[in-house]
Symmetry: C2
Subunit: 347 residues, 2 copies
């Protein structure tokens, strides 16, 4: 049993966290919901009870053993260690601490054991990284991944509830022959695609693309891994897809790759060539598994493997992965006493 | 002046051909419109006159020097040489004859000179191929392209007017909370993406992906070129986008690549990193140019180049390219006498 707090309870990921805790019968002693002043006071149904969203307390004591943080990077950057200092394990859905060496970056099916050594914060990776690694990590373990070229088809849910609402509103405007208003995104998303709406660095890569490279290296423990991604938003509500070309330390036969992917946890192979049935974001929306298919030998590089993955951005890409981390920590008895498991790092 | 016929005049590409002939003041002696029995008899405005769509004549004589064929591959396969035998140059928008050695496959900005030697048919390449090559061909000429990894974001217009209508109808159904009907496509396209709806071969690549490889090799005269594509439909009405990773015979500096692309005909560089402004399908819809941007050194391969292109599928991807071919042939005086320019091949 554990005392749980959700920071950012009124957002898309927060709502999914609440759903998942109920759906998975997470062992709760208590559940507190926090959000900004704007949402404080709102009621949320949880099973047969009603919870009220609270404002964050000034003293940083959320009265919780586990804190799910999904209220934005700046809030996590400012408060996460403070929340942890009151005895909580913070499972952080933001990018604030992912690359910090004190903080394990965890996909339970990939490197669940890494969560065992934390100093108060465990970071949830970027959604695109999680979904790519669900397929790439087992292939890496089997064949040693050297290079991955990735093109993403990312849902608007990655920009939160406001992204979802903007797609809906703009699509209706276009169908009604009206001028679609742009609020959340700089570019029109309805019936359009655009390069990911994160800041572009001097090398021309945007933040989302850099996360795919850096986080993959950290999670796989493969600092030499070469990744190049093109991250693109598409007018899809809540699941990401990715076209991936992977190169390994040795030529990999398709039958080998398929055997590895079939046996991998959390993955479902959808690869029916005769019926043109492959992973789609719509088919994986609301589901826990990551779909993989379009498995083929890279026609431009013998021994390379091309594939296509799709995963629910809000579930496996965020809330589900975070809840799985919490379940793992509970199972290992690592909740409630961060000091005893800290890696000797002063925070 | 020339006598022109459009076969498939009632389709999306046919309508665009009519628009372009008018817009570009194509030197017309006569214009005849042909389509299936279902559309025959319909009236079409052309400038100040009204044309009537006719059924195809049995004898194959379309009364034309130039025939634009965009009524489907099977029709072109059956009749194109017959139309040519009556003295016409057939500019074929279908895939029927693209890989035939008697038939030049032409993107005017890339290999316009190839059209000079034809035996009655000049083929218009696949839309994704044209749009990719608008950027890759000048880079190939400068640095010798060895390998391209391509992921596409393809509009529904590639499936014709029915594809456009299906996206519109399904999107409205979803917004209204109704079950979207699937007619043109096997999978829902509204608020979804799916692997391209062409037949998948034994190597796992679909026909669209194979076209990108085979047609690129033919157009560039580069039989050793390695291409691997993942072709994906996205809920966009009429322009294709493509994420491309290109590898050359030698390492290419970004400044070199940019200089080449800036100077290339028919291309417009949209690459404003500070303002996150890059090519989008919406920005290029209805335009003649192909947009290129997201130019960066491939972070996974020093000396490789990553880029993103977007082009209007109906214009440059089909109708415009065909009209440009016709304009080139007229300019070179190569219309009306196919025998005199035939490459000595019996057809």
């Amino acid at each position: 049993m554990s005392r749980v707090a959700i920071v950012g309870a009124s957002g898309a990921v927060g709502a999914e966290l609440i759903t998942l805790l109920e759906e998975r019968r997470f062992p709760l002693e208590s559940l507190r919901l926090f959000a900004s002043r704007r949402s404080a006071g709102k009621s949320v149904r949880f099973g047969s009870t009603t919870l009220t969203i609270e404002e964050l307390p000034q003293d940083g004591d959320l009265g919780a053993d586990i804190v799910f943080s999904s209220a934005g990077t700046s809030l996590s950057r400012e408060h996460a260690w403070d929340w942890a200092s009151h005895g909580a394990v913070v499972i952080d859905n933001t990018s604030a601490w992912r690359m910090d060496e004190r903080v394990p970056l965890v996909v339970p099916e990939v490197n669940g054991e890494a969560a065992a050594v934390h100093a108060g914060i465990v970071a949830n990776p970027n959604c695109s990284t999680i979904i790519a690694l669900m397929a790439l990590a087992p292939l890496h373990r089997a064949f040693t991944l050297r290079r991955a070229v990735i093109a993403t088809y990312q849902a608007v849910s990655g920009a939160g509830a406001a992204g979802i609402e903007e797609l809906r509103r703009q699509a209706r405007a276009v169908l009604d022959g009206e001028e679609p208003r742009r609020e959340k995104f700089q570019h029109q998303i309805a019936f359009n695609v655009f390069s990911h709406d994160s800041a572009v660095g001097e090398d021309g890569y945007n933040a989302e693309e850099r996360k795919l490279t850096e986080e993959s290296r950290k999670i796989l423990g493969a600092p030499e891994l070469q990744v190049s991604a093109t991250c693109v938003r598409v007018p899809v509500f809540r699941a990401h897809s990715e076209a991936i070309h992977a190169e390994f330390a040795r030529p990999v036969a398709l039958t080998e790759a398929e055997a590895v992917l079939r046996a991998a946890p959390g993955l479902e192979l959808v690869d029916d060539r005769a019926n043109n049935s492959f992973p789609t974001p719509l088919d994986v929306a609301g589901r826990d598994v990551t779909l993989v298919g379009r498995l083929r030998e890279d026609s431009s590089l013998p021994g390379g493997v091309a594939l296509f993955v799709a995963g629910d951005q809000i579930r496996k890409g965020a809330a589900l992965n975070a809840v799985q981390i919490a379940e793992d920590l509970l199972r290992r008895g690592l909740v409630g006493e961060p000091q005893s498991v800290a890696a000797g790092v002063n925070v």
